[in-house]
């Protein structure tokens, strides 16, 4: 699958190559298609999915699980491109990455990895060579963070998102599930696709709810109501970090430091 395999067995080179390819494709068609306001947004997002994200995520099914930092790199690249498509690059207050992904109805890279790996697993155990299947089990026995270990977490995600709970997905022994995959005639693909859509919808619901709560507390805080503990410090609550030198605000302290270094020359 044209995967860059490096001697340190990490995915950094592969991810960097994929991001470079996707960004290059994005830049090629950006002006004529993706940020062309004469085209409807849904069409531009479809083109983005098929022309850019397909290159970014092409061999993703065969990846072992990347680290949080690598997932963050992928997410930052996708969000950077989506901000240009949605034209929210300079919006105030700044829109979070999760919000941008929900607005564009694009899966988070980790959820996308789960989707791609579940689809690839079905193809692998259906059509793949025997030595590859055996090697996967051997790797699972020898390595803590093997491909199969990641697949089990993906199956757990699918079980959580799916409409009907399926105990088959949580079994320690994958034999029955592999049998299902080998007898499958397309239902698994539809099931995973539906789960991905449900995931996007559920995340959108939760973000909307959290947004409402943040706005409620914002209204009260603006009129000097105080709470203990401060709702702004709650997990997943919107918390902005204002720049002391100008009117801009950022979602992370790192964002403030980067902005001050670039805009105000403060190190």
């Amino acid at each position: 699958m044209a995967l860059l395999y490096t001697s340190d067995q990490q995915l950094d080179a592969e991810i960097a190559y994929r991001i470079g390819t996707a960004v290059s494709s994005f830049e090629q068609i950006k002006r004529r298609l993706l940020i062309n306001r004469h085209l409807p947004l849904c069409l531009r997002l479809q083109l983005f999915q098929s022309l850019v994200l397909s290159k970014l995520y092409f061999p993703m099914g065969s990846w072992h699980t990347p680290t949080g930092r690598q997932i963050g790199r992928l997410r930052a690249a996708v969000v950077r491109m989506l901000r240009k498509i949605l034209a929210i690059g300079t919006a105030t207050p700044p829109t979070s990455a999760a919000r941008v992904l929900v607005m564009a109805e694009v899966l988070d890279p980790r959820a996308r990895l789960a989707v791609e790996r579940l689809l690839y697993a079905q193809r692998l155990f259906h059509h793949g060579p025997a030595f590859l299947q055996i090697n996967l089990h051997v790797e699972h026995g020898l390595h803590q963070h093997s491909w199969l270990a990641g697949l089990r977490h993906d199956l757990r995600w699918l079980q959580g998102v799916d409409v009907q709970p399926d105990p088959l997905l949580l079994q320690d022994d994958l034999t029955e599930l592999i049998d299902v995959w080998q007898r499958d005639t397309g239902r698994w693909r539809r099931r995973v696709r539906r789960a991905a859509q449900r995931h996007i919808f559920q995340e959108a619901m939760m973000l909307e709810v959290q947004q409402w709560h943040a706005e409620i507390f914002d209204v009260l805080r603006q009129t000097h109501y105080t709470f203990a503990p401060d709702p702004a410090l709650l997990r997943m609550q919107r918390h902005l970090f204002p720049c002391p030198d100008c009117h801009r605000s950022f979602t992370t302290p790192q964002g403030v430091h980067t902005h001050r270094r670039r805009a105000h020359g403060v190190y």
Binding site: G68, H153, M205
Partner: protein, 442 residues
């Protein structure tokens, strides 16, 4: 078909000679029905591809080995080949020792004309011609097993090297030696192929994840879902308590709407305008008591555009700006916002029973994954819309707390519903935090 698009000469020739074949239907196998073309490509190659590369290599090596063994074993030997071989070995040892003595006699000097190889050739050449191959094999064996002992007894480093070198040069010219070595190599390669393949190992040790690694440097195995994490989020939200509150703002009169200042009353989710509804009653009451009121009844049943309370609608944006400017003070809520509350199953969740004796939510948001995660998509859409209305109501209530005003809930008759209306949830939500803002609720 040629690339330039010209007619296919092969096909034209076959047609000209009248060659014809029967029709053959080609289709995907049944097991691959429903798959895309990419998926239908068998990764292991076409079906029935024959032996693997390893098996083919093994067969080739065995064929070569058998052919060489056939050549190698084709020789004649004496009847009593063991004794004959021993005698030949003794002769070779004797001529080698004699050559060494000749070398030592003139003061450890040897001439190029009298080489050790010549002595060995003299011995081997005296044997009959048909036993030449046997004699060479015997000489090779003698060199491997007897000559090292002979060399060890020379006590002369230069001669030890010379004997070895002479033997190597001499033996390398024999076909028997070359064939024997080739057979040995083939046997070794066959043994390697027969042995089980060793487990793959990295050419450098795999660095295990550090025990004190940061979360972002270890594989992100679990898929993060806000939907799964909302119980924790709500638990944290429940810990929030009122700490400090400013003095209650008064209910101001809005300037400029009427010839004289007036109160603005917003009737959210009012439903279709009816005779003797609350709008009508308030208007009659204001004219009777000479109090200026501006009443805004908002519902999609009144106007799909101006009464739309969807979050993304223009009417809600305008109303929101009015709230944030502090112009909309008294407010009446109809029971439309209880749509979300109609969802069954809330009483089955422990966190929804917190602080409520009737099995209802005491949370600011009664939105829980455990009860909605298995909903069908249509029902989830209803839930999303209903929860948005519910939280809009809470937001307006927060605006009244911040900028002053009253919130009046128009309670439906008991006979029409058996469920707890949503405003009870709102009231509990705020009043459970502190008794102070309760006077904003009526």
């Amino acid at each position: 078909m040629p690339r330039d698009g010209s007619p296919n000469p092969c096909f034209a020739y076959l047609q000209s000679i009248g060659y014809a074949v029967s029709y053959a239907h080609e289709a995907l196998p049944a097991v691959m029905r429903g798959q895309s073309r990419l998926d239908a490509l068998p990764v292991a190659g076409p079906y029935g591809c024959g032996l693997t590369a390893c098996q083919r290599q093994k067969a080739e090596l065995q064929r070569q080995k058998q052919a060489l063994e056939q050549i190698y074993n084709d020789f004649e030997q004496p009847d009593d080949y063991a004794n004959a071989g021993a005698r030949l070995g003794d002769l070779l040892t004797a001529v080698s020792q004699r050559w060494y003595d000749d070398y030592c006699a003139p003061g450890r000097h040897h001439s190029e004309a009298d080489r050790l190889q010549d002595r060995w050739i003299d011995v081997i050449g005296r044997l009959p011609q048909e036993f030449e191959s046997w004699a060479l094999r015997t000489f090779i064996l003698w060199g491997r097993f007897i000559l090292p002992d002979l060399i060890a007894g020379l006590l002369d480093g230069e001669m030890e090297y010379h004997f070895d070198n002479e033997y190597a040069e001499f033996v390398f010219q024999f076909d028997e030696y070359q064939i024997g070595e080739r057979i040995t190599q083939l046997a070794h390669r066959l043994r390697l192929l027969d042995a089980p393949a060793p487990l793959p190992e990295a050419h450098r040790p795999v660095r295990p994840p550090q025990c004190n690694a940061q979360p972002r440097s270890v594989p992100m195995q679990s898929v993060p879902r806000l939907f799964d994490e909302q119980e924790d989020w709500q638990t944290e939200l429940l810990r929030v308590q009122w700490q400090d509150m400013p003095p209650d703002p008064m209910i101001p009169l809005v300037q400029g709407l009427e010839p004289r200042p007036c109160f603005v009353i917003v009737h959210l989710f009012s439903g279709r305008r009816r005779e003797h509804d609350i709008h009508h009653w308030l208007a009659a009451w204001s004219s009777r008591t000479n109090i200026a009121l501006t009443i805004i009844s908002m519902d999609a049943a009144i106007s799909p555009v101006l009464g739309n309370l969807d979050v993304r609608s223009e009417s809600w944006s305008t109303l929101r700006s009015l709230y944030l400017q502090g112009k909309s003070r008294p407010q009446s809520l109809a029971t439309r916002a209880r749509r979300f509350h109609r969802l069954d199953g809330t009483r089955h969740h422990p966190s929804l029973r917190m602080g409520s004796g009737r099995g209802r939510s005491a949370l600011l948001c009664s939105f829980l994954a455990s009860i909605t995660s298995r909903f069908a998509r249509r029902k989830m859409k209803q839930t999303k819309t209903g929860s948005a209305f519910f939280l809009q109501t809470l937001w307006t209530l927060a605006c009244h707390l911040a900028y002053g005003g009253l919130t009046v809930r128009r309670r439906a008759p008991r006979t029409t519903t058996t469920r707890t209306p949503p405003f009870g949830v709102e009231k509990r939500s705020f009043s459970s935090l502190s008794p102070a803002p309760r006077h904003h609720l009526a």
